[in-house]
């Protein structure tokens, strides 16, 4: 026996319990507190201790130690700051540039032609490879990494915003605004952008999650944040050579990184259920 469409959607909504979202928000809050206060309380975790090399988790070092005797727990906590910073900054950069390009492309035909051609071209280069190549020519450092991760994400966001704006501009209140003689900038800022904010916030969560993963991937491949700047990615990378002897170096930051990204994605999904105009249209019908 199958359900009617409306019942199916009701079931879908109840299938995502509030519990998952609450847990995600809690996890996110913990990580952000860690990112803000962790390094102040515990230090950077760069202190070397040759006597404590590759020690398993214990009361002294909760997550064990790495090959240089550094405390993995302290490094994971201080890594949270850089990983979260890369995630948030990338989301801001991508939304500002990609969002603006998308809104303009959705509203002006000639911008559309140029921007979408460029987007097609950039999207034909696998994102992580483009990011690796950018880091290698621009040099290491947090700012470079944020730029390198942003570039491949911008076309995707521009595309999404364009499609959202295309559907908004067909709505009656835009026609009304045009007919009462509102200027184009005013229509864009007062009517189009506010209605696109919902989807933009959904996209922000996905970009943030993807950026945290990309930073980790870049660091893992050895082209990410410099070794003395701990991030989840380069803590994991430092355990690469020792994963048979000391799996904890990868395991703990790996699990925390996964929980963080998972939480952001769950929150993003919830936001999308609320804001996606396509889902809303279906619910209304």
């Amino acid at each position: 026996m199958t359900m009617s469409p409306s019942k199916t959607f009701a079931a879908m909504r109840s299938a995502r319990p509030g519990l998952a979202v609450s847990l995600s928000l809690f996890a996110l809050a913990v990580v952000i507190l860690m990112a803000i206060f962790g390094p102040i309380v515990l230090g950077s975790g760069n202190g070397l201790n040759p006597l404590m090399r590759l020690k398993p988790p214990s009361a002294l070092a909760w997550f064990g130690t790495d090959n240089l005797g550094r405390d993995v727990f302290v490094r994971t906590i201080s890594g949270a700051r850089n990983s979260v910073m890369v995630g948030l900054s990338t989301a801001v950069v991508v939304l500002l540039i990609g969002g603006t390009l998308g809104v303009l492309a959705g509203y002006f035909k000639w911008v559309d032609r140029v921007v979408m051609r460029l987007a097609d071209g950039l999207m034909a280069i696998p994102g992580i490879l483009l990011a690796i190549a950018l880091v290698s020519v621009l040099g290491g450092g947090l700012v470079t990494i944020i730029i390198a991760i942003s570039v491949p994400e911008i076309p995707r966001t521009a595309r999404l915003m364009r499609s959202v704006v295309l559907s908004i501009r067909e709505l009656p209140f835009i026609t009304a605004a045009v007919s009462v003689g509102s200027s184009t900038p005013k229509i864009l800022l007062r009517h189009v952008v506010p209605n696109a904010i919902g989807m933009l916030s959904v996209q922000a969560t996905y970009v943030c999650a993807a950026a945290i993963l990309s930073e980790a991937a870049l660091s893992f491949l050895g082209v990410g944040t410099p070794p003395d700047v701990p991030s989840w990615g380069n803590v994991i990378a430092s355990g690469k050579e020792y994963f048979r002897l000391a799996p904890w170096i990868i395991a703990f930051p790996g699990v925390i990184l996964s929980i963080m990204v998972l939480s952001i994605n769950i929150i993003g999904d919830r936001l999308r259920d609320r804001f996606d105009p396509r889902l809303a249209a279906r619910k209304a019908s």
Binding site: M3, L129, S136, V137, A209, A217, I250
Partner: protein
């Protein structure tokens, strides 16, 4: 139909051109002198000068671009600064492991994810459906390298069933190659099947809500007939689309997976080239990966014409 095919074929040209210009410009957007960047920190001025001449870096930018494009068109991707070998032959040496990994992941993911997605959509709201949603969010939240190490730990180090790392080429026998690629492709399949399953489920839910499904039901068609005859026929296009759009993620995942499992493929070639500042190789790999991606998306679009008669008009 032929009109659609011709138009789609022509649309590849600007995309390919943008890729090539981007790849060419990569070397020139950095803060320093590209020749010095390639030569490395310990190079003498004479060496830098030599590189500048060999790569035409002393010419005006537009002329360089033109030279670069004309070489690429003749399938000349330059020589490795490091080994002096042609980039194309370096890539050719490394293409097999990457292709085997990508194809096996693709097959595994589609075989798992499409039936799972259909099942979840058919039972939308049930425990199976919830489980699939959770699993798919997990699939693209857990980094490929974390999954990789967990699998290595369980199936290679503890159980001893499979090799820990490394790649056995096809020439060493199908069985050996298969054994060496199981863990890497299962690892990468977590990510890829998550993407495919999610889209399959969403599309299938949409298809099941269509009028023609209701009509079929009204005419007394059984569940199996509705699923096989009416619904599955219509998920071809979206599933092929998602395979196309997530192919970029697959190629990115290949690069990381090769690093986890020590597979000497194109991903490793890229990472090694970056670490040794071998930019012609980096550019060459970017071009080859991008052209694979462009071709896959072209094939995906052309396949629409097969699946959906409306596209042909």
């Amino acid at each position: 139909m032929s009109n659609f095919v011709v138009r789609r074929l022509l649309s590849v040209i600007p995309i390919a051109l943008i890729v090539l210009v981007t790849v060419f410009l990569l070397l020139h957007i950095g803060p320093g002198d590209p020749a010095a960047l390639i030569a490395g920190e310990n190079a003498t001025p004479a060496q830098i000068e030599q590189i500048r001449e060999r790569l035409f870096l002393d010419r005006p930018l537009l002329e360089q671009l033109f030279l670069y494009l004309s070489h690429v068109v003749q399938l000349d991707l330059g020589q490795s600064v490091y080994s002096g070998l042609p980039v194309l032959s370096l890539i050719a040496q490394r293409i097999e492991p990457t292709a085997v990994l990508a194809v096996s992941t693709l097959l595994l993911s589609v075989l798992i994810a499409v039936p799972m997605g259909v099942w979840a959509a058919w039972r939308a709201g049930s425990t199976v459906d919830t489980a699939l949603i959770v699993a798919s969010v997990l699939g693209f939240s857990v980094p490929v390298f974390v999954i990789g190490y967990v699998l290595v730990d369980v199936f290679a180090l503890r159980a001893g069933w499979l090799p820990v790392q490394g790649y056995k080429p096809l020439s060493s026998g199908l069985w050996n190659c298969f054994r060496s690629i199981i863990l890497p492709s299962v690892t990468l399949s977590f990510l890829f099947s998550a993407l495919v399953a999610r889209i399959t489920r969403a599309t299938m839910i949409e298809v099941l809500a269509e009028d023609y499904i209701r009509t079929a039901r009204a005419k007394g068609a059984g569940n199996r007939r509705i699923l096989v005859v009416h619904a599955l026929k219509n998920i071809g296009v979206p599933v092929v689309t998602v395979v196309g759009t997530s192919f970029a993620a697959l190629l990115g995942g290949v690069v990381i997976t090769e690093s986890v499992f020590n597979i000497p493929g194109m991903g490793r070639l890229t990472v090694d080239a970056i670490l040794t500042r071998d930019y012609p190789v980096v550019q060459g790999v970017l071009i080859v990966f991008s052209f694979v991606l462009i071709t896959v998306n072209l094939l995906v679009d052309l396949s629409y014409a097969l699946f959906d008669p409306r596209v042909r008009q």
